[in-house]
């Protein structure tokens, strides 16, 4: 590449060129060495940090070498070029219009055929929409129902039933309906408050047992699990968008974007003294949808 002159003047051109060449030589050599080392690292079992660094040196060496090469030894200097005009000339437009319209008229001479073609393509398009239906089931009662029924035992994640005495004051436990443990639409929070007399409407106290109240764990905003309980303030917090629900006041939202309280699950005790639901939630749990109240 020594036949191409750098932009600098004659006197300082030689030492500059020599320095530049040294940089490029070093960069390309470092790149080669790093690439070989990368192969060795890989061969010896791999190591993410080393791989990243060696890859960076290997690629960076090529990059530095090329850029310095280009800046020092490739011709620089600006060229002025005419931009020309984007739009076509009137003649060009006219000849295009003419060419297109000739064909268009020929096609339109058979108006009926053209309409039928449109109809056929349209019908095919409509028919082709139907397979979309195979992608998923009709949205049904699933959005409205969970697995809780009258007398369903409440089970923890490890499949054990819950007695009131299992829950310490200020404690929270996540439960599911028996037979549906882990099901995404029915995680429910059992919360035991220190002073049951604090329960106010819209909490339904007849649905609580010994200061224990059950609310759907799914936030009414976007359905995130409302996983944080501040026992001193008796508040449930959603970590996703900071909606905050007041446990003693029917889990009504007091902060954040949620518009509705967490639905309350009617609680009772069975003969064995285990906590059960006395029915399903009276409204859909989780995030809203247009016909939620139908």
């Amino acid at each position: 590449m020594d036949d191409i002159e750098p932009a600098a003047t004659e006197e300082d051109a030689a030492p500059r060129a020599a320095a530049g060449e040294r940089v490029v030589i070093a960069a390309f050599t470092a790149s080669m060495a790093a690439a070989l080392a990368l192969a060795v690292v890989y061969w010896r079992g791999g190591q993410a940090q080393l791989e990243g660094v060696l890859l960076a040196i290997s690629l960076g060496g090529i990059g530095v070498g090329m850029v310095v090469w280009a800046k020092r030894f490739l011709p620089s200097g600006e060229i002025t070029e005419e931009r020309g005009r984007m739009a076509s000339t009137d003649d060009e437009v006219a000849s295009f219009t003419h060419a297109f319209e000739q064909g268009e008229q020929a096609i339109q001479r058979r108006a009926l055929l053209l309409k039928l073609l449109g109809g056929a393509v349209g019908a095919l398009g409509v028919a082709a929409l139907f397979p979309i239906r195979s992608l998923g089931p009709r949205p049904g009662r699933g959005l409205f129902d969970t697995g809780f029924r009258n007398g369903t035992r409440l089970m923890t994640v490890d499949g054990r039933s819950v007695r009131p005495e299992d829950l310490s004051v200020g404690g929270v436990v996540t439960v599911w309906p028996e037979g549906h443990v882990g099901e995404p639409d029915s995680p429910t929070l059992l919360v035991r408050v220190d002073r049951p007399e604090l329960f106010r409407r819209p909490t339904r106290t007849q649905w609580t047992v010994e200061g224990i109240v059950a609310y759907s764990k799914l936030c009414t905003h976007t359905g995130c699990p409302v996983g944080l309980y501040q026992s001193r303030e008796r508040l449930l917090l959603c970590p996703c968008h900071q909606s905050t629900f007041d446990v003693v006041e029917g889990a009504k939202p007091i902060f954040g974007p949620a518009t509705r309280p967490l639905p309350q699950l009617p609680l009772g005790l069975n003969q064995a003294g285990e906590l059960v639901s006395t029915g399903d939630y009276r409204e859909p749990i989780g995030p809203g949808f247009w016909n939620r109240r139908r």
Binding site: A48, V53, I62, G63, G77, P139, P225, F289
Partner: protein
């Protein structure tokens, strides 16, 4: 071609191709193409390079990733997860991180490249906006660019949602709730997308096809369109000596510009490789497999989703209820806000043309200070989405600084309107002062003005006039001046 040199093998090959395709003319044009040089013109190039790196690393990942929600048990080398029940998707993501050689570094480069892809696009778009490069005749390419931005953001979200870890599952759940909130069709929409109620049996398989095939194919095609239009229209340039509306002043592609560009590609890849090796990103083994009944505190999405997440948090508890139906709250920040945002972006070139009445062609770029209103609006827009972005981390800010969550979000709600207004005012004043101190293109004003007039009157004479008035004759190399 003066004297034919002795035919080498490559020359014979080139001749063979040319005999069949007649490529010499176009290839010559490509080599001699002139590109104006400015550091800010490299931003789009960086996006392009990020995309190439995404494709290369992504293909490697597909060899090991199993996009399936089937139950399986991890038995790989990461002790803490051994024996844990999880989906095949999460298991294979763990395996390719710990048990596939170079798997982790490839995965991390892929993720970093995705962040850079969207980031460079956003900055590139800001450059195009503030310099007025979207004006006629470049409105089409602006809209192609906006489409690319939307696709990149969507595909980033789709990509990190595949791994089925606790964080990605939370993101998908919020996406589900936004889709569910759409009036009339929401319930059908989620059922068809997810294959049923959340989490649904099919979403990961489907997102996978979307993420690795459909969207990348469209992105690649649109990048082709974006660059074809760029070549056809030639690049814009800043005003300066010898630069006019009717010409383009810069370096030829071959060899210097091409070498620099290719060098920049290698440098971009090098930075991403260093990040991928040294800077941990998306450590899914810490998040654990997705459990729909759990969520970790301080769940933040990738940066380009931050503004949406922030909007989801800042919106007051409003929803619309009428005739026994409702439009749930997430619809507004989750669907209306991005809809309005991208609609305004698409329409901006036309809105500006309508307000300024300026519908003429522009190939010389504006300095932001010379367009104080546009600059102020751009700054206000950045401030608005910046506040939303910060609000996305409101819970983290609250714990970091020991301020109550309520106070943080109330402050953000005020800032969301005050900061854009204030920063727009400051930007406007700054532009005015700067422009006064340093009046618009002092250089070859004569050239630029004449050429402008040429365009306004009848675009055809512009080149001649510029040639006559300009100090440099066309086609002649002038020394670099920066």
């Amino acid at each position: 071609m003066n004297q034919p040199r002795p035919a080498t093998r490559s020359r014979r090959l080139a001749r063979w191709v040319d005999d069949r395709l007649g490529t010499a003319y176009l290839a010559t044009k490509a080599l001699r193409k002139v590109f104006p040089d400015h550091w800010s013109f490299m931003l789009g190039e960086l996006s392009l390079y990020s995309f190439v790196i995404l494709v290369v690393t992504g293909v490697y990942l597909t060899f090991f990733f199993d996009p399936s929600q089937a139950e399986s048990t991890y038995r790989g080398s990461y002790e803490a997860m051994r024996g844990v029940e999880m989906t095949a998707a999460y298991r294979s993501a763990l395996e390719l991180s710990f048990d596939v050689r170079a798997g982790l570094v490839m995965r991390q480069i892929h993720h970093w490249a995705a962040l850079l892809f969207v980031a460079t696009m956003a900055v590139h778009m800001a450059r195009v906006f503030f310099t007025g490069a979207f004006r006629r005749p470049r409105e089409i390419n602006w809209m192609v660019g906006v489409t690319l931005l939307i696709l990149a953001v969507f595909n980033g979200f789709a990509g990190y949602s595949l791994l089925d870890d606790q964080l990605s599952g939370t993101g998908l759940r919020i996406g589900y709730s936004i889709a569910l909130s759409v009036p009339l069709v929401g319930t059908w929409l989620v059922s068809l997308l997810f294959g049923g109620e959340f989490p649904g049996p099919d979403i990961i398989e489907r997102l996978y096809v979307i993420h690795i095939l459909l969207v990348p194919a469209v992105i690649a095609a649109l990048i082709g369109v974006h660059m074809a239009i760029l070549l056809r229209q030639k690049h814009t340039q800043f005003a300066g000596p010898g630069r006019a509306e009717g010409n383009v002043v810069g370096e030829r592609v071959w060899p210097t510009y091409a070498a620099k560009g290719l060098g920049l590609f290698f440098l971009t890849t090098a930075v991403l490789a260093a990040l991928g090796g040294l800077a941990q990103i998306n450590p899914i083994w810490i998040y654990g497999p997705f459990d729909p009944a759990e969520v970790s505190a301080a769940s933040q999405p990738d940066w380009y989703m931050g503004w949406l997440d922030g909007a989801m948090r800042l919106i007051p508890p409003w929803e619309v209820r009428a005739f026994g139906y409702e439009v749930p709250n997430p619809f507004f920040p989750g669907a209306v806000l991005p809809g309005v945002t991208f609609a305004l972006l698409y329409l901006w070139p036309f809105l500006e043309a309508r307000f300024t009445g300026d519908r003429s062609e522009h190939h010389l770029l504006d300095r932001p200070r010379d367009r104080p209103v546009r600059t102020a609006m751009g700054v206000a827009t950045i401030a608005f989405y910046g506040v939303l972005f910060l609000a996305g981390g409101g819970d983290v800010l609250s714990t970091t600084f020991g301020v109550s969550v309520n106070a943080v979000f109330q402050a953000f709600r005020v800032l969301l309107f005050v900061l854009p207004a204030a920063s727009a005012w400051v930007a406007y004043r700054l532009c005015r002062d700067l422009a006064q101190r340093d009046p618009a293109p002092a250089d070859d004003g004569s050239v630029a003005m004449t050429a402008l007039a040429g365009v306004a009157e009848d675009g055809r004479d512009q080149d001649d006039r510029a040639g006559h008035d300009g100090p440099e004759a066309q086609g002649q190399a002038v020394g670099k001046h920066h």
